[in-house]
C-alpha cells in the first residue's frame, strides 16, 4: 500500500524535475540535443511510475481523499509528460536560418558519386540550368 503511494509520488517528482530541466530552453528548442534525451527519459519514467502507483492505489488502497489526491497526481504527471512531448515534437522541426548565396558567385566546388557510382562535380553540371536538391537523408 505504502509502496504504491511512494511510487506515485516519486513519479510525479520525476516528471516535475524533468520538466524543470527543460524550462531554461523553453522559449525555443531548435532541435533536440544529445543532452535532452536523459531528461525526456526521466519524464517518461516518472509518468509511468506515477501511473503505476496511482492505479495500484486506486485498486487496492483505502480512503477517498487519498485516491483523489493520487488520481490528481497521476493526471498531472501524464499531462506534464504529454505537454513536454507535444512541445518537443512541435519545435524539433524548426530549422536553422536559411543560407545566403551571392548572386554573382558560382556554387562551391564538389565532387561526389551518385547511386550508380558515377562522379558528379560542380564542373560537370556547368552549361545547363540545374536544380540541386538537398535532403536530410535517412536516419
Amino acid at each position: 500500500m505504502g509502496i504504491a503511494v511512494i511510487v506515485a509520488l516519486l513519479g510525479t517528482v520525476l516528471v516535475a524535475v524533468g520538466g524543470l530541466l527543460f524550462l531554461p530552453q523553453a522559449p525555443q528548442l531548435p532541435v533536440l540535443g544529445a543532452g535532452d534525451w536523459p531528461k525526456l527519459i526521466v519524464i517518461y519514467l516518472g509518468a509511468g511510475w506515477s501511473l503505476l502507483g496511482a492505479v495500484q492505489f486506486l485498486r487496492h488502497g483505502q480512503g477517498r481523499p487519498g485516491k483523489a489526491v493520487l488520481g490528481l497526481l497521476m493526471l498531472l504527471s501524464l499531462a506534464g509528460a504529454g505537454g513536454v512531448s507535444w512541445w518537443v515534437l512541435s519545435f524539433s522541426y524548426q530549422l536553422p536560418a536559411p543560407a545566403q548565396f551571392a548572386a554573382e558567385k558560382p556554387i562551391p566546388a564538389f565532387e561526389l558519386r551518385d547511386q550508380d557510382g558515377n562522379t558528379v562535380s560542380d564542373a560537370s553540371l556547368r552549361g545547363k540550368p540545374v536544380v540541386l536538391i538537398f535532403g536530410r537523408g535517412v536516419w
Binding site: A34, A99, I107, L112, D114, V131, I133, F134, R136
Partner: protein, 104 residues
C-alpha cells in the same frame, strides 16, 4: 517534374548526407530517376552553407533546400523552408527553375 526539367535542357541532382549504400537503398526504394549523390559527412552541404548541426543527436545533416543554379554555375534562387513539414510545390519548382533558365 523531372522529365519536364530535362526536356527544358535542365538537370536535377540530389544530395544526401548518407553513405553510398544508404543512398543506393533509398534510390531503389523510392524510384528516384535523377543522380542522387552521397555526401556522407554533409561536407558538401557544409560548403553550401546548408549544414544543420546536431539535427539528430550526434549527427549533422543538411538543411532541406533546393537551389536553382544557372548554366554558369551561379545561384538564381533557392527554396529553403523553415520547417521540415513544409515541402516545395510544383509551382515553386517550376518558377525557380524558370529563373535559372532565363537569367544570364
Amino acid at each position: 517534374m523531372y522529365p519536364e526539367i530535362q526536356k527544358a535542357g535542365g538537370e536535377v541532382v540530389g544530395f544526401m548526407p548518407d553513405t553510398p549504400e544508404d543512398v543506393k537503398a533509398m534510390v531503389e526504394r523510392t524510384g528516384v530517376k535523377f543522380p542522387m549523390l552521397a555526401d556522407p559527412d554533409a561536407a558538401v552541404a557544409e560548403a553550401f552553407g546548408l549544414r544543420h548541426a546536431e539535427a539528430v543527436p550526434g549527427k549533422d545533416l543538411a538543411r532541406p533546400a533546393i537551389l536553382f543554379v544557372r548554366a554558369d554555375g551561379t545561384v538564381a534562387g533557392s527554396f529553403q523552408p523553415d520547417n521540415y513539414r513544409r515541402s516545395v510545390t510544383p509551382e515553386e519548382l517550376r518558377a525557380g527553375f524558370a529563373g535559372a533558365v532565363t537569367s544570364p
